[in-house]
């Protein structure tokens, strides 16, 4: 399986994602933001970090990078595109997924483990996963997902909500919402479910010595689904 990770100026989780994808069997290539063409890929990842220093708005300048036209075309033709953290911010700026990401409710960067509940397994990302609740890791300053009432209705109707922040038992309540996201939303799909944007970093959970191993479960399942 071939994957590509895009490096923007200021990306800083690009290596971590490369390590994770390779660990679970992807043949991964790093792609520079200024390139024109995507290499042949089964999965494209927009990694976390601070592309363009988060200047203007998080993700906004990266969304206009040269490579992004190919990424957008790839997504529109049904290709799998996953944006993690800053990658999610870039995805909302391209309009591939709806909504915006605001500054965290308590105005502080937050780095910790969280639990997320899967809402929809009818997609390549989560199909066949034998767990409904995963322990993931977040590290962000602008992860407060927001959208209009109409948009919210639309994404609900289309089953576009991918994961919610919750507790260990899967309860989705305000007190388990780390950043003030509307409805505890931690990640969403596009309508077709081939594009996924989420704040948590599965690539930081791929080893028992690190924060945990639910990232391993996610990546193993993902590559099996793509095969």
């Amino acid at each position: 399986m071939k994957s590509s990770v895009i490096t923007f100026p200021g990306s800083n989780c690009d290596r971590d994602m490369d390590v994770a994808l390779k660990k679970f069997g992807f043949n991964n290539k790093m792609v520079w933001h200024d390139d024109n063409e995507l290499p042949k890929s089964d999965l494209v990842v927009l990694p976390g970090g601070f592309s363009y220093g988060d200047y203007l708005r998080c993700g906004s300048m990266a969304s206009k990078s040269k490579i992004m036209q190919s990424v957008i075309n790839f997504a529109k033709s049904g290709g799998l595109v996953m944006g993690i953290c800053n990658g999610f911010q870039i995805l909302v700026e391209t309009g591939l997924v709806p909504g915006v990401l605001l500054r965290n409710k308590y105005l502080e960067f937050i780095c910790k483990n969280v639990f997320v509940k899967l809402d929809n397994k009818e997609n390549t990302y989560f199909k066949n996963l034998n767990k409904d609740i995963l322990e993931f890791h977040i590290a962000h300053n602008e992860g407060n997902y927001f959208c209009t009432k109409d948009q919210l209705k639309e994404i609900k109707d289309n089953n576009q909500i991918a994961i919610y922040y919750c507790n260990k038992e899967g309860k989705i309540e305000d007190q388990y919402n780390p950043n003030g996201s509307i409805k505890n939303i931690a990640g969403i799909f596009n309508k077709e479910k081939n594009v996924l944007g989420m704040m948590p970093h599965p690539e930081r959970m791929i080893d028992q010595s690190l924060s945990g191993e639910d990232g391993s479960i996610f990546f193993k399942n993902l590559i099996n689904n793509i095969k």
Binding site: D54, F109, C111, R204, I206, S209, L210
Partner: protein, 729 residues
């Protein structure tokens, strides 16, 4: 402008220093030259009050590749790998402008590390604030934490450990010490020594602006009521540019183009160019018109003294300009050939084709002032006699609650949750433990690092305090299973022109030296920050020690959380009941006098090495050193983190129970061992003459202190976790 003595004094130079300059130059300097002298000869850059004493520190060892004198120290961690590390202060700017001050402190120390070819893999910090009741404390704390996070998070370097304290002596002078560790191949280390004639001198990174002019001079003076006027001397950081600079420099370093490289930190272009020339015993010629400037009409004086961030100076091999330029173009950074190396041994500056400065390099460096300042020796204070009746009136549970929720003990999660501590995917021990630990990427090794200071002990008796901080750093590394290798120090003191403060400095340094020599734990880098003083009031002497150690097999790393019910907890090291200068004495008895606990270096070394031996044999399930707060605080933290209880056995120790639980005797640890291993463990401890006793047995929940006192884990957690977040909300 004609230079005279008054102008020199306005630049922070002393009258006789100015006379010396005129003598050495055999003429009056012009204003640009005077600016250069003032930048090179201030305390921050010249170490004029401290050099004499720093020379006494042990800096060599089998594992030391580079000691003090370079951008950072370098140690060998085997297999061709090396760790580059250093700690540095950014105290003065952080008090004036907490966000930018702290942010650029972090940016500066990371530059020091990647200048040597190392990719930063971990950040740490030691931050100290005034009393929680002081009106500035909250905003300063918030600003500093945001600043540290803002820079480090954006760089994508995990912040893995730190230390925070509150003490009214920092009311007018907070401390922000930032430390970075970088990883490099032993044969790819870069140095700042220029070599060869007519080699191009390259400027890369951000453009030069008018920010931070005289920053280093500001950091070499005390504060007074005009402090707000100093805001323009604080630099403004841009971590995004630094991230690009890091990647571009490492890309260029992978080839063979660079002869020497030096970051532009304190005193900017001035100190970087002079240091490179001085180390290479060369001259350097710079055309200031070629320096990329952010603002128009900048004068030679401003260009030379700007402390704009994210800039580097490089001496390249001839003919490599194009290769280098291509890399910096790719990363969208400025690149300019601004001069060349010469054999004149002068620094020569040109502007609009005119020579605007010409100074022999050796005058600036070797002839810089050095003072043997007067200092006062401290006496060891007399021990207090605490009456048993007073101690017997106290309820252990009340005392424990007060101490666990004390601002200097309680959880600092509110702080470190704002730092990305997991990026790079190798953090195997997060903040909140004895040391932060990161794996050496792609290997079985890991590096542990911790940062410590004990201002109260240093204030009570500087010599003992100096030793204690080094010993504590050593213990924090041992507690995670790391073999301690070397330290970096950041020496924060008041004015060296006051005998008391200078005495504190001299004796702390002596204590640090004694301990690091005995423990074979050499000092490889560091920095001195004097004048942490507002008007007549200086801070408590606060040397921060950053220790680094190696874990050869990271699966053998130890953490402090209790692991298994029915395992035993042993106290290693003797509890004598030293209460003076303990947190207990200060917060419960309101007693501020008396000597700090004695540091027995033989016991420190013996206990530490024996524990490493036990860890290596797999006998230690969890470990924690006993430090601030004493025994009961240490076991409480282990219970909280492991979510387990303990039934404490009745002590055979003859001292008062309160003394037993809250004394701060040194050289002690708690270790968890399996009952089945007890015999073997005891044998090893006895063989090495290590004092040990049993504390108790691990239980499901509740800490049972004695037949009358029981504390639930939830109670412990609530004492320990809430203070800081409540204070900040």
């Amino acid at each position: 402008m004609e230079v005279n003595e008054q102008i020199a004094i306005d630049h922070g130079l002393k009258s006789d220093e100015y006379k010396k300059i005129c003598q050495l130059l055999k003429r009056t300097p012009n204003i640009t030259e005077l600016g250069i002298f003032s930048a090179m000869w201030n305390e921050h850059c010249s170490y004029k009050s401290s050099r004499l004493h720093l020379k006494k520190l042990p800096t060599k060892g089998k594992k030391v590749i580079q000691g003090p004198g370079e951008n950072a120290g370098v140690i060998d961690i085997e297999d061709g790998d090396a760790i580059v590390f250093k700690i540095e202060s950014h105290n003065h700017p952080s008090f004036i402008e907490p966000y930018q001050g702290a942010a650029t402190g972090v940016g500066g120390i990371m530059r020091d590390v990647f200048t040597m070819g190392a990719r930063p893999i971990a950040n740490l910090n030691s931050i100290h604030f005034g009393s929680p009741q002081h009106k500035k404390t909250k905003n300063l704390l918030r600003g500093v934490v945001h600043g540290i996070g803002g820079y480090g998070n954006c760089m994508g370097v995990p912040t893995i450990a730190g230390q925070t304290s509150f003490d009214s002596s920092y009311n007018g002078n907070i401390l922000v010490n930032a430390m970075t560790l970088g990883l490099v191949k032993k044969n790819k280390i870069f140095y700042s020594k220029a070599a060869g004639l007519n080699k191009p001198v390259i400027y890369v990174g951000s453009k030069t602006g008018r920010d931070g002019i005289h920053g280093a001079s500001m950091a070499s003076a005390s504060f007074d009521e005009k402090i707000e006027e100093k805001k323009p001397t604080v630099q403004v950081g841009d971590p995004f540019t630094e991230k690009l600079l890091l990647e571009a420099c490492l890309e260029l370093m992978s080839g063979d183009s660079i002869i020497a490289i030096q970051d532009m930190g304190a005193a900017g272009l001035t100190s970087s160019s002079i240091e490179m020339a001085s180390k290479g015993n060369l001259g350097i010629e710079i055309d200031l018109n070629k320096v990329p400037c952010r603002e128009t009409k900048m004068t030679p004086y401003e260009i030379m003294l700007s402390e704009s961030q994210e800039r580097m100076l490089i001496v390249l091999e001839n003919g490599k300009e194009e290769v280098a330029k291509k890399i910096f173009d790719k990363w969208n950074l400025d690149f300019a050939v601004i001069g060349k190396t010469t054999n004149s041994k002068n620094i020569e500056l040109f502007f609009n084709r005119e020579q605007v400065a010409k100074i022999p390099v050796n005058i600036l460096v070797e002839n810089s002032p050095m003072y043997d300042r007067k200092w006062k020796k401290s006496k060891l204070p007399k021990k207090n006699k605490i009456k048993n009746e007073i101690l017997n009136k106290l309820k252990i549970k009340d005392v424990l609650k007060k101490i666990l929720s004390n601002q200097n003990i309680c959880s600092k999660e509110w702080i470190w949750q704002q730092y990305d501590h997991t990026v790079m995917g190798d953090t195997i021990q997060k903040p909140g433990g004895d040391s932060g630990v990161v794996r050496v990427h792609g290997t079985n090794k890991a590096v542990a690092a911790s940062v410590d200071s004990s201002a109260v002990y240093c204030w009570a008796h500087p010599l003992t305090g100096g030793k204690q901080v080094v010993a504590e750093s050593w213990r924090n590394l041992i507690s995670v299973g790391a073999k301690p290798i070397a330290i970096t120090n950041c020496l924060n003191f008041g004015s060296p022109e006051k005998e008391e403060n200078m005495g504190e400095f001299v004796e702390c340094v002596q204590g640090i030296g004694e301990a690091s020599k005995y423990l074979n734990f050499p000092v490889v880098s560091g920095n001195v920050s004097f004048y942490n003083q507002t008007k007549e009031v200086g801070i408590k002497p606060t040397p921060s020690i950053g220790g680094v150690g190696l874990i050869k097999d990271y699966t053998k790393m130890i953490s402090m959380d209790l692991k298994e019910i029915d395992n035993l907890v042993l106290i290693i090291g003797k509890t004598e009941g030293h209460i003076d200068q303990s947190l207990f004495a200060r917060t419960i008895l309101d007693e501020k006098n008396g000597p700090p606990p004695e540091v027995n270096l033989f016991n420190e070394k013996n206990n530490g090495e024996t524990i490493l031996n036990l860890i290596d044999k797999g006998y230690v399930k969890s470990a924690h050193d006993i430090s601030l707060g004493g025994l009961l605080v240490a076991i409480s933290k282990m219970c909280i983190k492991g979510n387990k209880g303990i039934k404490i056995s009745k002590s055979k120790n003859l001292i008062n129970e309160i003394e037993y639980f809250f004394a701060e005797d040194q050289g002690r640890y708690l270790i968890e061992v399996n009952k089945d291993d007890l015999k073997e463990v005891t044998k090893i401890l006895n063989k090495n003459s290590v004092h040990h006793e049993e504390l108790g047995i691990i239980t499901q929940n509740d800490m049972i202190i004695n037949e009358k006192t029981k504390v639930t884990i939830d109670e412990l957690k609530s004492y320990y976790t809430n203070w800081l977040s409540k204070f900040m909300s």
